[in-house]
Symmetry: C2
């Protein structure tokens, strides 16, 4: 009865919002209603912004982040250090490191970490392109800026093995990463400390 009552257009909005992370069916109904009540101020602008983003934002073919230009703003900034690539799990980690402002090299977005539990194997990660990039003569160091979780550190060791044959220094963030902590949750000072005191992988 509720489904008929709500109508297919609103039901579709509720169903799609309910697929977003952290939003269950009840909060999806609340969000949908909140949008309907703010049709001109929020509903229409959000519809347009999402459509605009879908049309313009693409993945950077070099590092894998999202931007409206390819290569992305970071990859195409002339002053940045070309000799070092910082490998992160996902885009918010790049954003967090850029907010911290202590790093001025290149990035590489893995798109995840290896996880037996979640069924994430090496083939699901952006790894082949990392090996290719790491083999370029100007690249001297790869920083594995992965979370201090079991999966993050497993992934760091796996990447280290994959790059072993190359003439690059492999380091990881060290001091400051709380055990079990996720990179994206850390404050700028902690991230900067971890970046400064990075050390070679054992």
């Amino acid at each position: 009865m509720s489904r008929n009552l709500i109508g297919p257009e609103l039901q579709r909005v509720i169903d799609l919002i309910g697929k977003l992370p952290g939003l269950g069916p009840r909060s999806a109904r609340r969000v949908a209603l909140y949008l309907l009540k703010r049709r001109d101020a929020l509903l229409i602008p959000l519809a347009e912004a999402l459509s605009d983003a879908a049309g313009k934002i693409t993945r950077c073919s070099v590092c894998g982040t999202y931007d409206t230009v390819d290569p992305c703003t970071v990859c195409s900034t002339p002053g940045r250090d070309q000799s070092v690539i910082c490998v992160v799990q996902d885009v918010p980690d790049l954003w967090a490191l850029e907010r911290a402002g202590s790093y001025r090299g290149q990035y590489h977005i893995l798109g995840g970490v290896l996880s037996a539990l979640d069924g994430v194997g090496p083939e699901k990660l952006n790894l082949d392109s990392l090996v290719q990039r790491s083999a370029q003569p100007e690249v001297k160091e790869i920083i594995l800026a992965l979370s201090a979780t079991v999966d993050g550190q497993t992934t760091a060791h796996y990447i280290s093995d994959r790059l072993e044959h190359l003439d690059v220094r492999i380091s990881r963030l060290a001091q400051g990463l709380p055990v079990g902590g996720e990179l994206d949750h850390l404050d700028d000072g902690t991230l900067t400390a971890a970046m400064m005191s990075r050390r070679g992988l054992d």
Copy 2:
């Protein structure tokens, strides 16, 4: 730096999502990224569904709920009892009562409750139209199905005063409403019990 890095299109999506209830800046970034990663499966469908909803869904000029037709599906269903109007705080309360399935009369959406703290006075509620509807000769009973909160009960008494001069019975949901409980959180059985044992306002 982070704002320049993200780009205006994505920043706009993040800002708008951050205005939704229950979503802070951090979860807005997570949701935006989740959408970008599911461009065809979620981002584009959601943009279209929101645009579609904005174009088609309107408020019912009779009861105030949302629907694609005006009068809404509930108001225009022929079999429903025309002699009773159930007054609810907001649209999800109508949905909850329809899910419970124990009520087959008319509805009236107030759009809020009186609240000194939140600065909600009578002029912000859908009250004038309630008084007009209640004055129609076929209307015999007004059920005040408001939450058992201080604001809800204050509003019930205010409405009761406004309708005092009319020849209608005014009742409210009674048994089953836990003190401080919000209508939208109750299970169907509790709602049905409360509806069945409604009683005249003191």
